[in-house]
Symmetry: C3
Subunit: 249 residues, 3 copies
């Protein structure tokens, strides 16, 4: 399966053109758009989202990852293999958190710089012209060595292991943070949007209109409101801070 | 074919993760998202929409239906077989109108409570973890008895057969009601958004800017404006009333 | 492959129902939605968008094209074959620019009026009931003659070859014009939204907040802002003018 993690937006021709390339170049391999609305042009926030959601897919999955504000500039194009999955995308930190967790798990990742170039490469749509054909080739069983050369990826060592910021706001107004549930004490309170947010196990366990946090179905700390929108109630957007309060605060 | 009827939203990872499960568990069975924006958290309005749109699909279709404000609570998980289609989803009224129409048609429905549980069941995403695997198994030919036990579903007898409320607003601003065209006299006028709305056969048969109602392509009474948006002109949202006026009103 | 070019919107049941028809009538043929948000009810602006994006698909592609404000009226339903691709949709100018370019390329197009009618044809959803089944039949190899009769399509000779208007605004707020890059001098400046817009090769080559134009990955002149939204900065919507300034302006 090829999984798309992009900031292309749901609307417009971008996802459709990428799916068309994948369908043509890797016939019979399902292509599924996971996020078309990753944090636009923000590789750092996207990196925490990607690490949490990619881990849900089985080994053998190819993830086509394009949050690429530097398209047309000098950033390199990468293939990464980690924990049995392939990742294809730009070298801008998007893979930093996933790489770090793979290394921590002592299953070291491998990385290649994509050397292959298509006959025609647009300046603005490498997702379609470069990354999608590479993802398709990997999905049909070609090895990275046929199109790329081994490299050491740039690392972003100053990024934290868990990010105390909002990295995604969903359809319901729920706000995901870049913190894993396992990194936050079960009873911890968060400071977010000028409020103190306590944990709750489910929506139905808090009164209507009250914000709370819980660990979402992909392991991220997420802030929600029973019967309301956390983003509006708390004035949240991508990058808003969500900090763990000291136990006696 | 597996058809998704959900309030997960188009954006974000929810539809993609469910499609990924279906593709993995029922390879080669097409999975199509019909509604990703059913009335959010509103099983009653959703029930009228589902009944109208499910009827369009042929026997053999599996409908994965998740409008589930009680996720994480005590509501049961159901399989329903009615008029040759399978439905999978929560027991909260979402299937009430479909069940009623199937019974009226003297093709009695069968119902099972899902007993199977996945190895890991998140608290908040039963659509992905519970309902999708069950839908996939039904789509590949397993019988309900292999994963569920026969039951009598809860009924919502006080809900009307046709609902005089807005149950969906589409991309164009057209507002669907929960009333079937066959339940409304062809010349009837509706009271909606403070206006009296007369019927018209097509958009082009009324002056620009005038609201009218017609029977949409799935049999629901729908309010539209030629060259405009009915939702904005009439101030409509999900649950706004749309009532049939007495003939002499 | 069957490619959808429509103004049905991403939300709601329209794309899903069309995909369901295509999947049932042409099993195994991939169906991809390219645009679900073509200019709503605006065949003229849509014609320039379609011509630019259809050209990217290989011969053999079937394009299901529905921007159809006249649905339910007297407009005819067409099949067009041009440069090896099939197009199916209403006769309202949507195919004008594509036809003109095919003719210019001396690969003359052929056109048929669809005579086939489905057992049930709704008044408002010919995309699902008429155009999708025809597209599916073409995709599985049936010839136009089995369902349509040769005709000469209506032409819209007063439309320009390149349209100095905004024809699409994407997820990022970038505004595509109906002008091909090859029709505009590389150093030309545009008058758009009360500003004078100069060209730039990439986003990263202009200061943040500055609007510029470039030739997008499908050959259209597109207006963008580095780190911002061109639509908001310049107050643009579909149909806003974007004119080439005289060289000494």
């Amino acid at each position: 399966m090829i999984v798309l993690f992009t900031d292309f937006g749901l609307a417009g021709p971008y996802i459709g053109q990428v799916i068309a390339v994948l369908t043509r170049e890797a016939p019979g391999v399902p292509a599924v758009s996971l996020f078309a609305d990753a944090p636009a042009g923000q590789p750092k926030q996207s990196a925490y989202l990607l690490a949490a959601y990619a881990a849900w897919f089985p080994a053998g999955t190819v993830l086509l990852c394009v949050v690429d504000p530097g398209v047309g500039g000098a950033r390199r194009a990468l293939i990464v293999e980690a924990e049995g999955r392939f990742y294809v995308g730009p070298e801008n930190g998007l893979f930093e958190i996933m790489l770090r967790r793979a290394a921590f798990a002592r299953r070291e990742a491998q990385c290649w710089e994509i050397a292959w170039r298509p006959p025609v490469l647009s300046a603005s749509f490498h997702g379609r012209d470069l990354f999608a054909p590479v993802a398709a080739r990997l999905a049909r069983g070609e090895t990275p060595e046929t199109m790329a050369r081994s490299t050491v990826p740039a690392r972003f060592a100053d990024w934290p292991d868990d990010l105390g910021e909002i990295v995604y706001i969903d359809h319901y107004g729920n706000a995901m943070t870049g913190m894993r549930g396992e990194a936050v004490a079960a009873a911890a309170r968060l400071a977010c949007g000028g409020r103190t947010i306590a944990p709750a196990p489910t929506f139905s366990s808090v009164p209507p209109g009250m914000p709370f946090w819980y660990v979402n179905s992909n392991g991220l700390v997420e802030i929600a409101v029973n019967g309301g929108r956390a983003d509006r109630l708390l004035g949240l957007s991508i990058g808003s801070t969500a900090e763990i309060l000291a136990a006696d605060a």
